[in-house]
């Protein structure tokens, strides 16, 4: 499959039908071979919570989960996600609107300002805590290597993630 996709990459006139599960909902659509997963999510499915902050796969604003793995949705073709389970920021809170523990910790600890990096930060944090439920401060910072935030200086993001993992850092309370 991947090899087939690679040969399609530069054929913009080539349309392919993709089906995947996004936040538990089955979706499908017609995309060009060169359509990125993030474009399919934003433009095809109107899931605009996943953001685009760069064109070199370095900012992490587009972070989603594909089959449980943390993925930059700008670094993958939509066709490559055919058949996959995709999770985006829109699926993180409960149906009644209750925020997840990570989302709530971001609000409690002022882990966001303009909010543009935030969906990617929350998705990255979720995958960290799944693999490593009690990370150290250094591990949190290391895991955020691929996610840039220009507003917060990271202090409150790191603190929020530590708090979401059940490790309160009282000495560093936001205020």
């Amino acid at each position: 499959m991947l090899r087939l996709m690679a040969s399609m990459r530069f054929r913009e006139d080539f349309h392919v039908r993709v089906s995947m599960t996004v936040n538990g909902r089955n979706v499908s659509g017609e995309v060009e071979g060169r359509t990125l997963l993030v474009e399919f999510l934003r433009e095809g499915l109107h899931l605009t919570g996943t953001h685009v902050g760069c064109d070199t796969s370095q900012c992490g604003a587009c972070t989603v989960h594909v089959d449980g793995m943390q993925v930059k949705a700008c670094s993958m073709f939509a066709a490559e996600a055919d058949g996959a389970q995709v999770a985006t920021i829109e699926g993180v809170a409960a149906n009644d609107g209750t925020l997840s523990a990570i989302q709530q910790a971001f609000q409690d600890h002022h882990g966001l300002q303009c909010g543009f990096c935030t969906p990617g930060m929350v998705m990255a944090a979720a995958s960290l805590l799944k693999a490593n439920p009690k990370p150290t401060e250094h591990e949190v910072r290391e895991h955020l290597e691929g996610n840039i935030c220009r507003c917060t200086g990271y202090h409150n993001i790191v603190k929020a993630i530590m708090a979401a993992s059940g490790q309160e850092m009282p000495a560093l309370a936001a205020e």
């Binding site: 953001h51 685009v52 900012c59 409690d108 303009c114 955020l144 840039i148 990271y154």
Partner: protein, 787 residues
């Protein structure tokens, strides 16, 4: 006990919920039925004569509606500059035309030449490749000092030279400063570069233009910090659209840091093309485009001299700065190295003689304009570096040297034309010594040394002029706009309140903090109050958010409007309570008659205003809505003291920021949590400038740092947890809230202490002393300086 609501409470931010759940509404999330997409063909050469553009093949490509060129914009205005600087000879600055699309000449890499509008973005991009440009490459001029030499090529032929202006401030002080320096016991001289930066808000710029033929109405959705400013500049100066036919909407905006203040060509283009094609037209910047089209920041080359008498009192400061304007004058470019920089050159010190000279220069680079701090970081950096250097030369303690020269009496009129209303620089320094644990530094240094590392401690003070700005003053200084702000407080029938404000929130949390003020004034819960911002069709004419002005200026307008509302409500309450309005008190959401138990609830009074059955209709109008415009009497002067502790690996030159502490005086504070967050973000940007970021052009004008692969943004591992304190508070004396502004402090206050710390670390080692290293302090620069 910290409060849980109102002024001083760390209320959680209500805007967070939509951002945390992916329900924000950023400009790129806006898609309008029938919209077309534009791709700009941008210059990949820095300087060229453009003889012609052949768009025929591109226009024949699938999906293409039209290809626009510079010729299509000849009849409209250029992108205006909002501030006229008068040079030291009394002449106006040189002000070249800044076309929407390049016409006849290309002046920087990234300049838009053609705009291809097609059904899809992919089609527009593909078609742009079929455009044929007929051009002759010209030698580019990048270095500022070369640009002002007589033999330099000119960026603009119609100008006499590449010198935009040669500004002296205060020109009448020049001789006195020269004499003071001549007679001084000691003069420390430092030449430095304030590195060129790219603001890089995480949301790239976006513009969506719309036009409705039936009512001749234009709408522009754009990533702006100040929608009314864009409406005025674009409507009146570029496209000739009157205000009532132009609506500008800036919805959720993903960070600004100055770079979204300015009016950009892409905004004018989308608005223009939407009418020309009678279809909505959308442009979304890629990050690569952002690097070569967002206005850059800083880029000063400075020589500063600090003169001291035999007792180490500062007697004079003299500076000469070359400030890069880039190829064109961006909206506020001309004001940044002058009024936002020269006026701060006294710093926190009672230096009697100060003279600032600034030469603004055109080069074949992207325009340079305000970036977080704008002029004030440049002033702080040179002053706080030269003071540290003087302390080292004289062998005195850098803190003691600063303390000795602090201004201690307020109000204080500086020799550079501003008057500081309040401050307590010793108090913030005392606080810094405590929170940064200076006492423990020796032990930490010894520990580092045991591990083969060097440890340095750097400190600096800062002062900034915020709450921009008194209109009559800035008018005299050349501003082409007023800098007041406005708010409308609309009380609804059941007592809830909508406040329409001119300030724009793009991370600052106004939707949370502004209601805290109204809640405190009236005594109703914060959730009864909503802030409306970012849409010229809904808000009064305010000037937007920059220069740490939102609360100090727009917040003051909001307070004035709320006071008018309360005064009127008291009259209504007096009528309902059959008392005289002078006896009515408002507390905790109830009006009562002083000295009695008679009272009426806020909601009953507001209902009476809209259902005026029992109402003094002959004396007052029904309804409860007031607007106020507020023009500040002075700037505000936040100040503080910062400390950075670094650990340096002498083998590699690698520097680790180990501790960073900030003691700020922001006057009164509405939401401490938000203020702390603002300082954190500013410090990270300052550390970024000092350690990582630098925008680099080669000699031909190619932009070498044009993506996140070559432009190093601070990431989570590059910064420590910060220690931030703002308990030193000397309230502003001239605005109703006593607030000073906090948005830029971190970025202004942090670079000098980082560099001072690295110099201190090197000095503590056994190698050669290093007087100065230019930012960013990359391992290779530090290592090279140490050899």
């Amino acid at each position: 006990m910290p409060k849980d609501s109102g002024i001083g409470a760390s209320s959680k931010r209500r805007e967070d919920v939509r951002f945390l759940t992916g329900s924000g509404n950023y400009t790129d999330d806006i898609n309008i039925f029938g919209q077309l997409h534009v791709h700009f063909l941008r210059a990949d050469m820095a300087h060229a004569k453009l003889n012609g553009v052949d768009t025929a093949a591109a226009e024949a490509m699938p999906g293409v509606h039209r290809v626009f060129t510079g010729a299509d914009f000849e009849a409209v205005g250029g992108i205006p500059c909002g501030w006229l600087i008068t040079d030291r000879f009394g002449q106006p600055m040189q002000e070249p035309r800044h076309p929407v699309l390049a016409h006849g000449k290309i002046r920087h890499v990234g300049e838009p030449i053609c705009a291809v509008v097609a059904d899809t973005l992919a089609q527009a991009r593909d078609a742009a490749e079929a455009i044929v440009l007929d051009y002759e490459t010209l030698p580019a001029v990048i270095d500022m000092k070369a640009a002002v030499s007589d033999s330099s090529v000119k960026v603009h032929e119609e100008l006499t030279s590449n010198l935009c202006y040669d500004w002296g401030f205060v020109e009448d002080n020049r001789d006195a400063v020269d004499a003071a320096i001549k007679g001084a016991a000691h003069v420390t001289t430092l030449e430095l570069v304030n590195n060129r930066l790219v603001a890089n808000p995480m949301e790239p710029r976006v513009a969506v233009g719309e036009y409705n033929r039936s009512d001749d109405m234009h709408t522009l959705h754009t990533t702006s910090q100040n929608p009314h400013v864009i409406r005025l500049l674009m409507g009146a100066f570029v496209l000739g659209i009157p205000e009532h036919k132009l609506r500008v909407v800036a919805p959720d905006v993903g960070g600004g840091f100055g770079t979204k203040i300015f009016h950009y060509a892409e905004e004018a283009f989308c608005t223009f093309a939407a009418k020309a094609l009678n279809r909505p037209v959308k442009w979304t910047s890629t990050r690569s485009e952002a690097f070569m089209s967002d206005a850059h920041g800083r880029d000063h080359v400075t020589k500063i001299e600090l003169a001291l008498d035999a007792d180490n009192n500062f007697v004079a400061v003299r500076t000469e700065t070359y400030a890069n304007m880039g190829a064109y004058l961006s909206t506020f470019a001309s004001s940044v190295p002058t009024w936002l920089h020269g006026t701060l050159m006294a710093g926190n010190y009672k230096t009697p003689h100060v003279y600032v000279n600034v030469k603004a220069v055109f080069t074949n680079t992207v325009p340079v304009d305000a970036y977080r701090g704008a002029g004030r970081p440049e002033a702080t950096y040179q002053l706080e570096r030269v003071i540290d250097m003087a302390a080292r030369e004289l062998g005195v303690d850098p803190i003691a040297l600063r303390r000795q020269n602090f201004i201690t009496e307020f109000p204080y009129a500086t020799p550079v034309a501003v008057e500081y209303d309040t401050g307590d620089y010793h108090a913030t320094m005392d606080k810094l010594e405590e929170i940064a644990d200076f006492a423990g530094f020796k032990a930490r240094r010894a520990e580092s040394e045991r591990n083969g590392k060097l440890r340095g401690l750097g400190i600096n003070c800062y002062i900034e002029a915020c709450g921009i700005a008194p209109s009559n003053l800035v008018g005299q200084l050349g501003a082409r706009a007023g800098l007041y702000d406005a708010a409308t407080v609309r009380v609804n029938a059941t007592g809830s309140i909508s406040v329409m404000v001119g300030a724009h929130s793009h991370g600052q949390g106004h939707e949370t903090s502004f209601p805290q003020v109204i809640s405190e004034m009236i005594g109703i819960p914060e959730d009864q109050i909503t802030i409306v911002h970012g849409d010229t069709s809904k808000i009064p004419f305010g000037m937007g958010t920059y220069g740490s002005r939102s609360l100090a200026v727009c917040g003051s307008a909001m307070v004035r409007a709320a006071e008018k509302v309360i005064n009127k409500a008291k009259k209504i309450a007096a009528h309902l309570l059959e008392a005289s309005d002078g006896d009515i008190e408002l507390k905790d959401g109830r009006f009562s008659v002083a000295g009695t138990d008679k009272s009426v609830a806020w909601g009953d009074v507001t209902l009476a205003a809209y259902v005026p059955h029992n109402y003094p209709l002959t004396d007052i109008e029904p309804g409860l809505e007031e607007t106020a415009f507020y023009d500040p009497a002075n700037f505000t002067y936040p100040s503080g003291a910062y400390a950075c502790e670094v650990e340096l690996d002498p083998e590699t030159g690698h520097v680790k920021i180990d501790r960073f502490s900030a003691a700020d005086d922001f006057g009164n504070i509405i939401n401490p949590m938000i203020v702390t967050g603002q300082v954190h973000g500013g410090i990270a940007q300052g550390i970024g400038q000092a350690m990582l970021e630098g925008c680099v052009y080669d000699a031909d004008g190619q932009l070498l740092s044009a993506s996140y692969m070559d432009y190093a943004m601070p990431r989570a591992l590059d910064v420590p947890f910060y220690t931030v304190d703002h308990s030193c508070q000397t309230p502003c004396t001239h605005n109703p809230l006593g607030v000073k502004g906090c948005g830029e402090a971190g970025a202004i206050g942090s670079p000098p202490s980082v560099v001072n710390a690295v110099i201190d670390a090197i000095a503590s080692g056994s190698g050669k002393a290093v007087a100065h290293i230019d930012m960013p302090l990359t391992p290779s620069r530090v290592w090279a300086a140490m050899q």
